[in-house]
Symmetry: C2
Subunit: 398 residues, 2 copies
């Protein structure tokens, strides 16, 4: 008699953004004339740059010609893309070998699938509030979770202390949802703690391209010793607008080695390689050519222009909040603004009020954890016009 | 202290095709002038049809325009593609609702990832010989495996009997590597057995488009009652030449319901949906548009023409083997020919002999399981010229 994975019963059926969509749909049905502005979900809105589009088109045509057709590619990604990623890391002073870089269809897949190479009985340490995927993927395989409080007191950047406990340390910096970003010194404390305790840091660098300030690492591997204790996930979704095009990558350093229970040396790099060769068949050749183009000079210039556009929105939002003396985090090295709900309001109540009274949609902080209960996430992925209009309504409302 | 998944120590480090590539590379280095013909790995060689290429190109351009740009798509796939797949199944008399269809980057991912929704303590029943992925993905999560002997006696099509034991029944028909295909009556025996024993059939239909004979089901759901006990994987890799383009799909019927250990009704459809929403972010919009085109009349015509081309190779190979009175299976409803090694030779010995004396590369049956020890897999994915030349050398050799 078959048994299903009953750990699934422990995770909530409804995903945060489903509930948000549900409430917006209900409001929209009741008010068909309403001009609703969405500053909720973290999806990009500007089209792909022309370097990327040209590369995608060219690769699509290549697939239709006998001479240039490509069948199965390497599960780990083509060398042309792995080399382009290695060169990108070199700009931040990080030297990687190409076989430490694994190309995939996106960082969400890798962040979830990486759990395969770890034993069930590790403790996952996840900050609260958090991107829900870290917690859900660990609950799905029956792992114990500890939460590290991220709050106003620590600037939403928890650091290790005597109480810290965990084997798999999830760190997302610049952070989703809070927009807070660790300095090099702060990250070094985590690296040092992980090495002392034999823990592995799972570092999500999805928002690194939004970093504006010096002293904020783009990669955990900018920290001395991180290659002995960390795995990094990144993606072209937010850096080059690939949310619907799908390409990400994961760095598993060969210097990371863990002893088995019988003392055998095990290599997460080789294990992830085996996992990907067994349960994945590589990213589409066409998409990898598009990704390669995103790392060219023209591709980077076009991507930076889009990010600069979004960051103007972040400034518009930040300026309005500052004017209203509403406390907020993020918006400097991140497309996310994490604001305190006015008057200590509950985040879902604030969601409803903002939707009903200003027709603006954001994301309730409670959806990211208990420490988000009185916070609200706004994103800078809208148009300048819509963002300005949303802030004008906000200004009138409070 | 972190613990890695030590079940990985149980799986072989080297993948079958890696060893094949290694021996070919060594031969090639020693004989730089040799004209090596590869009838080994199951990768397509003909380019994508023009319907698909046009759709891919158009979608790539759409991603560069503000009005037609697409960000995150549905994790389950776009409705346009799910509907096209449902219409394709309807041609074989199978009615599916679109929310029973999940689009992905390929059947290998889904076949591996499906293990997430099942408990660790199920027994997987896998035929021997087998596509290595079924076994490796189950070993990786610590599951017990039973093997069902597929041999000359049962025409490489094992059927349930009094000794049969298993909770997850892997069936690949038409089969990789043997090319054997179950009739409707034979599959009905498996469906009936699964329903009686509360087992779930994981049906791999990757080669359904190669079926030439009546009475061979293209889908397990052509069998009465299969929706209550089966999940099906399929892909455009072999049907439309998508091995490097990457698109597959999985059917999880809503009629499949399993009781939890506490008597709660659990739905694999909802669980797979939750799994994909948590660990996957949808297939590239561009690729989904290409896949949609593969299901149009023109797309199907172009795909059928390619398959007909490959099947001529299967005939060339089959005719040669028949002439030499070498026993073989497959090649009728499948691109694979599963031949008995001449003179009862061991499959790796035959591999070396064929490579050394005829410069032809195939796949040793032993790589697929103990019952493959005296068998050898040839594939029909070469050109007509190369296949004919390989068979001429074969003819001279034996």
């Amino acid at each position: 008699m078959v048994r299903l994975n009953e750990d699934f019963l422990k995770i909530k059926q409804s995903y945060l953004f489903v509930e948000v969509a549900h409430r917006v749909a209900a409001y929209s049905a009741a008010h068909p004339q309403a001009d609703i502005i969405r500053l909720g979900i973290g999806d990009v809105t500007l089209p792909l740059g022309s370097a990327v589009v040209q590369a995608l088109s060219k690769a699509a045509l290549e697939m239709g010609e006998q001479k240039t057709f490509r069948g199965y590619g390497p599960e780990q990604g083509y060398d042309f893309l792995r080399s382009a990623i290695a060169a990108y890391y070199q700009k931040h002073g990080v030297s990687l070998e190409t076989d430490e870089i694994f190309v995939s269809d996106g960082a969400k897949s890798d962040t979830g699938n990486i759990t395969d190479i770890f034993s069930q009985d590790n403790i996952a340490l996840i900050s609260d509030p958090t991107y829900p995927v870290y917690a859900d993927t660990n609950l799905m395989c029956g792992r114990t979770i500890r939460y590290a409080d991220a709050n106003e007191e620590n600037g939403f950047l928890p650091l290790p202390d005597a109480q810290t406990e965990g084997d798999l340390i999830y760190i997302c910096s610049p952070n989703n949802p809070t927009g807070a970003a660790y300095t090099k010194e702060q990250l070094a404390l985590w690296v040092s703690w992980a090495r002392q305790h034999g823990a592995v840091i799972l570092f999500d660098a999805a928002y690194e391209a939004f970093i504006r300030e010096d002293g904020i690492p783009h990669s955990i591997f900018e920290i001395e010793g991180a290659k002995e204790c960390a795995i990094e996930f990144c993606s072209l979704s937010k850096t080059a607008g690939f949310t619907g095009t799908r390409c990400g990558y994961t760095i598993v350093p060969k210097a990371l080695v863990v002893k088995s229970s019988t003392g055998e040396e095990m290599s997460p790099n080789r294990m992830w390689n085996r996992r990907q060769c067994t349960k994945f068949n590589g990213t589409s050749y066409i998409i990898q050519r598009g990704a390669e183009a995103a790392f060219t000079e023209q591709g980077m210039r076009e991507a930076r222009a889009n990010i600069a556009y979004y960051m103007e929105n972040a400034k518009t939002i930040g300026d309005t909040l500052a004017k209203k003396q509403i406390r907020f985090f993020g918006g400097v090295n991140s497309p996310y603004i994490w604001m305190k709900c006015p008057g200590g309001m509950d985040s879902w109540a604030f969601f409803d009020e903002l939707l009903n009274r200003a027709q603006v949609v954001g994301t309730p902080g409670a959806g990211f954890g208990k420490n988000g209960q009185n916070y609200f996430r706004l994103t800078s992925f809208g148009t300048h016009e819509a963002t300005a209009e949303a802030m004008a309504r906000f200004d009138r409302l409070f």
